[in-house]
Subunit: 341 residues, 2 copies
DNA sequence: ATTAGCACTCTACCTTTGAGAGTGCTAAAA
DNA sequence: TTTTAGCACTCTCAAAGGTAGAGTGCTAAT
């Protein structure tokens, strides 16, 4: 389909373009890479590559620029060959993040900053998807008259807390009883499973237990269902330094997408059941607003189950090698750190 | 110092400029406002105003543009005269925010979005300054072996929670005892005060009580001291639509400032002991990075003590009337809603 | 199959030009 | 004394032309 030499030329063009933006011409390729061919030959090859859809010309008689398909080809090759990560920066990441261990959210915030400062693109991390985490303990605490604090502990630390007002004033003793009942039933299950069983239990109306408990269950179900995860985004100013973002309209687009965090959360949620780092290049992006950018994502896990996502957003002219490596190793260390608590 | 007629002209120029950017000339002023004077006279007045520092010319033979001093004069006048807020939009704000009452942080997040969507500038809210809030209750819960969850309830809802690892395994009973002791001593005081007394107590070494308690106190002091408040910023994409931000460098500046949230937190903290809405115009801003923007801030309170700040960032060419009114009423309603819990 | 040579194309940047808007000044009018 | 009309002058902005540079595609020679 595509011979080895053409492939080499394609990769050369892509690497040139990643190093500095602007169409890359045949002469430049011959100078930077010693193919032992003249510009004219390279030109012919590039012309072929354009026909195949890997390159394109911004305008007649300019150099070539990679298409999304070209990048895809390049990245696929990359991922295949990548056995050895560059282990050097691993340790740095590890050490710096270690400091932030205190609380899971500030930890993930720090991780997103880390992603962006390492890559010079936009770094994104999400807090664990509540539904995927396992319940460690529920506590009900009387907060003041008619107000109860519901605390959901998961294996990663406190995940959710909420103060709810209840109609009848319940004593702390009763609350303890309810909590005990719920704990006995649900500890060790994922929140998603718990929600499902609660729904089942309520609808089946086989509430042998007392009214308070059924009320509490309804309450907890509600808490579970409004579980939008937190998301940490950083590096916007970082990305503005790139020549790719000299156009004000692109900035606007990007900002609008990112500011509506729910969009990103949804996107990441969809991804978060897949393995290893994934790359979405330009038009491959499921989100309309992101079709001009590239997105490298991976997940961190609790045990073997992915519970949260991290990633990098940058221009399609992204240093994919670096980005993939950064995302991958960061995900790896987040997983480690969560389990090491 | 400055006669009435000149003042009128100054305000006319400012209003023109706020309505649409670009230097405003003498002809425009005579057309939009009926002073009964010819352009030539207006020109003379404007020339005087320039000498006094209220206006300036971007270049010879262009119209005039207000200086920061000019805006200041205008805003001062405004604040003096402002007795009647436009009560219409109050109700809207109130109703929409009411929905978000559930949890204080998502509530403040919503409030910041509200600020930005109403003003079309950048909306900022901070969560209550932990130090200023009063302690409602402390709870210590055994989370797993050697791990204790410390919960700080304040009158606004749960403010802080942290899981800490302790050397010796403590029983829930002991934890309850410690919590009880601390509660008895500190409930009703502000966290700042509590921190101070803890420090005193520890340093004085008059720890008649047992070792666990002194250890717990040290712990809690640490938790208090790392109290950076959350901050919610929104409306970045909003602001890019303004003609004032057509220059990419200004965007960069702004983003850099805003992305480093600690800067803003610090700024707001300094302000948060003053009354009513305050306006910082361009160079009046204490922060170097903000000297090209204007900042309208106010505080929300617990009782009569300000505990958090909200504000709007926009261009110096800001609609100050609207901005002040929005900030003021939003602050008012946040105060109300917090106390109405 | 590859390459050298050449005409052609397109962009980016610079300069020029003219229109438009607005000022400052002066002298006349109120 | 204050206001106004008239006019020359200045500056910006946008469009128009012109040139250099980079790169291509094609053809004919190697």
């Amino acid at each position: 389909m595509i011979d080895e030499r053409s492939k080499q030329v394609l990769f050369a063009v892509i690497q040139c373009y990643i190093n500095e933006p602007g169409p890359v011409g045949s002469r430049v390729v011959t100078k930077k890479y010693s193919f032992g061919l003249s510009p004219a030959t390279i030109r012919n090859i590039m012309s072929d590559l354009e026909e195949m859809g890997f390159l394109r010309q911004p305008h007649t008689s300019a150099g070539r620029v990679p298409t999304d398909i070209g990048y895809r080809f390049y990245v696929d090759k990359l991922v295949c060959e990548r056995q050895q990560n560059n282990k050097e920066n691993l340790f740095d990441i590890y050490k710096k993040l270690e400091m932030q261990k205190k609380d899971i959210n500030s930890f993930l915030d720090a991780a997103s900053r880390m992603l962006s400062s390492l890559s010079h693109y936009i770094g994104i991390t999400t807090s664990p998807n509540a539904g995927m985490t396992t319940l460690n303990k529920i506590d009900l605490i009387k907060y003041r008259e008619n107000h109860v604090a519901v605390l959901l502990f998961t294996d990663e630390g406190i995940m959710k807390n909420r103060i709810v007002s209840v109609d009848s004033d319940i004593s702390q003793k009763d609350l303890n009883r309810i909590a005990e009942y719920i704990n006995g039933k649900f500890v060790g299950h994922t929140l998603d499973d718990i929600r499902k069983s609660i729904v089942r239990e309520i609808t089946k109306e086989k509430v042998v237990c007392d009214k308070l408990i059924s009320e509490a269950l309804t309450l907890i179900r509600d808490i579970f269902s409004t579980s939008h995860s937190d998301i940490f985004i950083s590096g916007l100013s970082e990305v503005l330094e790139l020549p790719d973002f000299c156009d004000i309209n692109r900035i606007k687009e990007l900002l609008k997408t990112i500011e509506d965090k729910h969009i990103i959360v949804k996107l990441l949620d969809e991804i978060s059941d897949s393995e290893g780092p994934r790359v979405f290049i330009g038009s491959e992006n499921p989100l309309e607003e992101m079709k001009k950018f590239s997105f490298v994502v991976s997940t961190y896990k609790e045990g073997s189950r992915p519970i949260g996502a991290i990633g990098i957003i940058g221009p399609t002219r992204m240093n994919y090698i670096k980005a993939i490596s950064i995302v991958d190793t960061t995900a790896y260390y987040i997983t480690n750190m969560l389990s090491g608590r």
